[in-house]
Symmetry: C2
Subunit: 206 residues, 2 copies
DNA sequence: TAGATTGTTAATCGATTAACAATC
DNA sequence: TAGATTGTTAATCGATTAACAATC
């Protein structure tokens, strides 16, 4: 157990394990094994056990893993037992879809503020929230102690908005703009670029 | 140069290189180097050169890479010089955003058919296309020889729709449902799960 | 007890990096 | 020519897998 120096690639798999365990729990299942998870996820059972071992001992020899317990441990490790307030920047079609997406809440995230720079959009209501001007971003982020942001804006604005977010105290950015943004080393960025993911697959097509 | 057995992890970086080169080209730049790409992308210059070397020799010693040439070679390798027709399944908020997303066309993808099973949505117009019943999926996919699909549907329907897509001849699926789907080994799947990506980052937050 | 499955060690495999000859 | 940068080799680093003692 070396919880501190777990490889990032292992951390990235924890949400996948958590997702599967949550699903199994909802199915009413109580016990699973690294082998069953392996079959569901296409990850070898040895790797699954090794991944867990970075964070502790969660199973019982001969039996396997208690689903609810392991699920709760993964939530604790990922720090998603709590709810994280999230700032959403960009209220175009994608921003609209994200603001209304029901998949964030059960995973520990609540969009508490939506920003755009288009006067026609500012003031609109989304999922019980008002779209605010980008000018208010820093104030609101500090006031609500928001650490996590989602950027759903054009590439042309991405670096500038990222700078504003970082200056406001944001520490994690989910970036939907198909461009590489520069941030200080203490800020984490994850990119979502569906076209790039499609291109990854067309390489293999005949 | 061993174009055939390029590791998948290398293939996955090609769209990122292509994205950067396209951007530099639009900036009016003509030449770049592995070192400049390294600084832009946060990938070591040695790795960039090694990645390219799997597919050929694209640069000139002492000079670097001709941006337009390298960009076109990467397009060729990824098979995105052509346009791929894409089927979109699911016309909720996310499906709507994807149907209107301008980022696919310049990367080689055109959504040519949109499907939903909600009678209230069927018949609606999106970006010059009509929303069709899922019942027509197999026919249209075969007729238009569609190989690539995007699933923007609830998890509960994902496996069933994936089966339909595979049976219709789809070979690549971009899956937005936060669940693992099973497909034959000759079909490729890429998952997009924003909540999982956020959880990956909260692990590191203080 | 017999059977099953964990957690861990050591071996293997694969990816990244460093270094440099080739050469533009 | 002198300086710069590629493409590639070998070394290093890190991740995955196989195997098994421990033990439920």
């Amino acid at each position: 157990m070396d919880s501190n120096q777990a490889p990032d690639i292992v951390v990235g798999r924890l949400p996948i394990y958590l997702r599967a365990l949550t699903f199994m729990g909802e199915e009413g299942r109580e016990i699973t094994s690294s082998q069953e998870l392996s079959e569901r996820l296409g990850i070898s059972s040895a790797q699954i056990r090794k991944d867990f071992s970075h964070f502790g001992e969660f199973g019982k020899q001969g039996t396997g893993y208690e689903i609810a317990y392991l699920r709760d441990q993964l939530k604790r490790i990922l720090q998603v037992e709590r709810m994280w307030p999230v700032a959403l920047v960009g209220y175009g079609d994608l921003g609209h879809a994200l603001a209304n997406y029901g998949g964030f809440a059960p995973k520990g995230f609540e969009i508490v503020a939506v920003f755009d720079n288009d006067p026609a959009k500012i003031g609109q209501q989304v999922a019980g929230k008002e779209v605010l001007s980008i000018a208010e971003l820093a104030t609101i982020v500090r006031q609500k102690k928001i650490k996590v942001a989602i950027m759903a804006i054009p590439s042309s604005a991405a670096q500038q908005v990222a700078n504003m977010l970082v200056d406001s105290g944001i520490q994690a950015i989910l970036n939907y703009a198909p461009i590489n943004i520069s941030v200080p080393h203490n800020v984490r960025v994850q990119d979502i670029d569906p076209a790039a993911r499609l291109q990854h697959m067309t390489f293999y097509l005949k």
